[in-house]
Amino acid sequence: MLRHLLREMFLLIPLLFFVSIVAFFLVRCLPVDGATAYLNSIQVPITQESLSTIRKELGLDEPVFIQYLRWLGQILHGNWGYSYQTKRPVLEELGRGFSYTALLTMATLLWIFVCSSVLGITSALHSNSIWDHCVRFLTSFLSSIPKFWLGFLLIIFFSLKLKLLPVQGVGTWQHLILPSFTLSCSYTAIYTKLLRTQILECSQQPFIFYTHTRGFSKRHIMFHHILPNTLPSLLSSFTIHCGSLFSGSVLVETVFGWPGLGRMCVDAVNARNYPMIQGYILFLCTLFVGINLLSECLCITFSPQYRQEKLQ
């Protein structure tokens, strides 16, 4: 297993490396030269002389390759520069944003888990009934609705009309309900559909027929024989959606004024806050690689077929 994970990492590291080069050149290739920007920020008059001394001091006169290595060293030491807007370290800001986004994601995962397991199992148990058709319509509806629009509709209905929940911002657990529900909708649709087809497919298998003949209760068969067999495909589809879960949260965070990573990045792009943009790109890609490796571990642990297929 360790060897397999190392091989996976071997494929993902080049991606990370490539992204770091892009992120480096992102700031290097700006219309404003680094030395001029630095002189402006410490309010020293720009002359030919001061420019050349600053270039030497910042190492801008060295070859690009050396500069890249030095920059990479700084990144690895946790020195990600300072945000233009708040003048605070980028890594600290990103960490704060990430804690909020992670909270939102956890709540979303809870919604997805509860809603899709209830809808998926009930619709598979009563397949081709009216309930099943309702669920099928609901899932195609939920997967097509624009998240940001749904968010506003929920705000208008639950917060402005009924005055049940807070409109925007963070604070209590009630602030978490609407954003996480909005974010969970499209994923609930996907997993409900997947769970339903997987359960129906698995029920056709001979070993399920055998458990019926042995006289087990329907509930026992569902929870001990069918559901564990649907787990691998659900997990592997989950790995695909992890990345989009983080980028999808941008829309929801903007709608609900949630101070997470996504809104931070939108603000940074609009304010041309380059260190933050650079940091966000690096952070998200590292997260992406981490999640991919983690899900690979989970798939190997939970799915014997996958393990056999991959480890040989």
Partner: protein, 266 residues
């Protein structure tokens, strides 16, 4: 016949497409014409859907916005389909390490958060529709490549293809007349589903302010305009509803085409 079922999602899609194409004739006002006296008017005979916070006619903006949204979504999907299919057929036909590379890279890239690419482009060239389109095409083609590559590999082993090779059929003819038609049903299913996703992405990025520039009408941008006036929900209801209808019908159409294909072939 099951084919009649296709009409159900196709009808609203074609209707909205037709209405938006006819926007220059149908829309009662110029979509960007300001009228500060008549802000937030309720629906009336003069303004069938009312007016927005600058007194612009909502129906005209909806129709013209649909041209932008649907046009860009169609363009992006068609471009990614062309690129993806070409690369997919090529890699599938070559087989070996090239096909493996396409499938492995699509495995990695399909979960890659595409907002990263959008942000990189926006930083280099500023916010505009061309950057957004390019970023979306660069992440979307991989789906088509994956589908067409997988099917090409399967088709390649069929006796009929081997026979045409024996007869001395040119490779280009073989690819165009034998392999491509076999991919087409699956590809059109993927196309419609991808069209829906692209439309959601375009309107989403426009909502964030990463897409069209302010005076231009676009469905996502119209929702953005409405977000500061939540007490007047009619500013965002219609455009959101249009997005929902188009994406819902496109997804359903894609699903139906796939079902139809599976019924006839399996």
């Amino acid at each position: 016949m099951k084919k009649k079922r296709l009409l159900l999602p196709l009808a609203p899609l074609l209707l909205l497409l037709f209405l938006c194409l006819m926007a220059p004739i149908l829309s009662p006002y110029d979509p960007n014409q300001l009228d500060t006296v008549s802000k937030f008017l309720p629906p009336s005979t003069l303004h069938p859907l009312g007016t927005d916070y600058l007194g612009r006619d909502l129906l005209s903006r909806l129709l013209w916005g649909g041209r932008t949204t649907l046009g860009y979504a169609a363009m992006i999907s068609i471009f990614s389909m062309a690129i993806g299919t070409f690369i997919g057929i090529f890699s599938g036909w070559m087989g070996g390490i090239i096909a493996k590379a396409v499938i492995k890279s699509s495995d990695i890239l399909r979960s890659f958060p595409n907002i990263v690419l959008v942000m990189i482009f926006m930083t280099f060239w500023g916010t505009n529709m061309y950057c957004l389109s390019l970023a979306l095409i660069l992440t979307r083609w991989i789906w088509y490549a994956r589908v067409s590559s997988t099917i090409t590999i399967l088709q390649k082993r069929r006796p009929s293809i081997l026979a045409s090779q024996l007869v001395g059929c040119k490779t280009s003819d073989l690819l165009i007349h034998h392999i491509f038609p076999a991919i087409l049903p699956q590809l059109s299913s993927v196309f419609f589903i991808d069209f829906g996703h692209t439309l959601l992405a375009i309107s989403g990025y426009s909502f964030l302010g990463f897409g069209v520039l302010p005076p231009q009408a676009e469905w996502g941008a119209m929702i953005r305009d409405g977000q500061n006036y939540l007490s007047h929900p009619e500013m965002m209801v219609w455009s959101g509803l249009c997005i929902l209808i188009v994406v819902l019908s496109a997804n359903t159409l894609g699903d139906y085409i796939r079902d139809l294909w599976e019924e006839t072939h399996i």
